[in-house]
Symmetry: C2
Subunit: 356 residues, 2 copies
């Protein structure tokens, strides 16, 4: 525990990145369970002062000693940085909560979404807990609620993923491209005209303004993208369904922040539209927004900056009473990253506090 | 047959609209099977001169007599105009090829995609042939080729539909909104900020710039949209599979023209990725664009203004050897509307010519 008070000490590693910035905002607005909050980053960012809980905190360079006295260390850094430093934090006695992909499929590392499998956070042989990928997180709270009611058997997912999933470079690239295409109202009618207009593609493999791009991540066997396999493997692990059938197609769209997903879900038991809507309305962390007659359905422009998973367009299949189709939106920087990491850290903090 | 030469006479009804404009372009570039081409529109547009096959043609006001001597009459007009005038054209001896939704599910009206079911065009008790909805057309040529090889059993579709599916008003609204959001690089981070910035929503129920909108068409039973039911009902009719299971979620995206679809297709027989790619590569009207290692996959910005259905991201399900996932792009104003109508008209022209 921190020397400052009897509440646990938190370290935020990667406090200066896109997710880290949202994390500091979230830490300033949630119930304050932390004693000291220590900000760690690469030596390049050390010495910068950032605001947390209304106070200026100086960023320290990451080092083994920087984790001494830390109870929980959140990592919002690239995979290779987590792979190196999360075990260091754990070896110094901290519980590492990692938002990278480095440990998610490790059998000795729980993959936790507090609304779905909070208890899994208690068993962590390596001292590391992983936070799921943002695309999985954009649907899994809602799908977990439906699974508890109906028993999930299969998911077919098509994503509409925001530019900020590719970090600040993704956001900047989309704004740059929007500015370039805004000048010409004839664009978008001839093959390649948008490609010529946007110039720099940034972190994307094709233009994102006035376009959609069916690619995210790296190429894996069978033509699948790493992002698509994350949705499959992480959904199985979080829900505790190792044989769950999951087919995902991940597509980037010209939205700044908030991922959307069209999901076709098949269950063990028969479903009804109204009962499924009631389940979602009552689920923690979910907002049902489903009255198309009044044009009420989730869109990223309305969901961005908020914490819940927004669900609408709930329909029972006309061909199969075991299947539902839905449309979901979730802020990929909040629930999709920083918020879920903060929630996991709070679960650990409660455990540490009760164990005293 | 026309008095001018022995080739059939064509009438284009709705020549001044968004699809009609593309139609005149298409008629000027395809093999010239027509004698006279007569342009018909509302009295309001009569007297305008438009260019077809390099010649100026004066638009005539639609009337029963305007169809006298016409062999084939294409209709690119709203449902109610087609419902009124296509039977008039048929009663005057023309074969009506209708791009509206007025007759598509009529048992006495064939619904034709020449690459899939050209023979169906020969049986037309009402003298009317329907052209499918643009979303169905963006995938059906490729799905027809796979069906002939593997036997289609089920489709799960998520669409990424372009603004021009809502006509010229949709295109104008998207450009207006892009111009408004381009000025502010902070947009897209707080709920409602894009909604406030774009102002007029035009024909869409939510902002389209920096957003995606899970709605197209009108509300039907069970929460389904009319667009989603068109994909289901029209796919069944075109493929001759009245029990085909189809679940679609239709979503509008900030793309000017060209619809994209993520499709999860399940077949009677086992599939292989490489064989399916070969089937698609060899299919008439389809271009396979599928080398993600080289960032080759279809995007609307690359497919717009072209005739074929572009297909990529072909993957066999990791959980079911009978299932494929794919991503498709098709220009919704060309194959999705004007081109397919022109192809149907040419099928009829060939039949009329051989029947002489």
């Amino acid at each position: 525990m921190s020397a400052r008070d009897d509440r646990p000490t938190l370290a935020v590693v990667g406090a200066t990145g896109a997710v880290g910035t949202v994390m500091l905002d979230i830490l300033s607005t949630r119930e304050d369970v932390w004693g000291e909050i220590r900000l760690l980053a690469s030596p390049r960012s050390a010495g910068r002062r950032l605001t947390v809980r209304g106070e200026q905190v100086e960023v320290q360079a990451i080092s083994p000693e920087a984790f001494d006295g830390v109870d929980v260390a959140m990592f919002d850094v690239p995979d290779d940085v987590s792979a190196e430093w999360a075990p260091v934090a754990a070896s110094r006695g901290a519980v590492a909560v990692d938002n990278s992909g480095a440990f998610r499929m490790d059998d000795d590392v729980p993959l936790v979404v507090p609304e779905v499998n909070a208890a899994a956070a208690r068993t962590r042989p390596r001292g590391i807990i992983s936070n799921p990928n943002c695309t999985t997180l954009s649907m899994i709270v809602a799908m977990g609620a439906l699974h508890r009611t109906y028993g999930l058997r299969e998911l077919v997912v098509a994503s509409y993923q925001a530019a900020s999933g590719a970090g600040q470079a993704g956001i900047d690239t989309l704004h740059d491209q929007i500015a370039k295409v805004a000048a010409d109202r004839e664009l978008g009618t001839r093959a390649g005209d948008v490609r010529r207009a946007v110039g720099d593609l940034g972190p994307f493999p094709a233009p994102l303004a006035l376009n959609v791009v069916p690619w995210a991540g790296s190429l894996k066997d069978g033509g699948w993208s790493s992002e698509e396999l994350k949705v499959r493997n992480e959904s199985r692990k979080i829900l505790g369904l190792p044989d769950l059938r999951v087919n995902a197609t991940c597509v980037r769209v010209p939205v700044v922040t908030t991922h959307s997903l069209a999901v076709h879900a098949t269950f063990e038991r028969e479903v009804s539209q109204h009962e499924a809507q009631a389940v979602l309305r009552d689920a923690a962390g979910v907002v049902l927004c489903d009255d198309p007659a009044a044009y009420e359905f989730p869109t990223p422009a309305d969901a961005v900056g908020t914490d819940p998973t927004w669900v609408g367009r709930v329909r029972r299949s006309l061909d199969d009473p075991h299947s539902l189709d839905l449309f979901l939106c979730g802020d990929n920087l909040r629930k999709g990253a920083a918020l879920n990491t903060a929630q996991i850290a709070e679960v650990v903090a409660a455990e540490l506090t009760e164990g005293r």
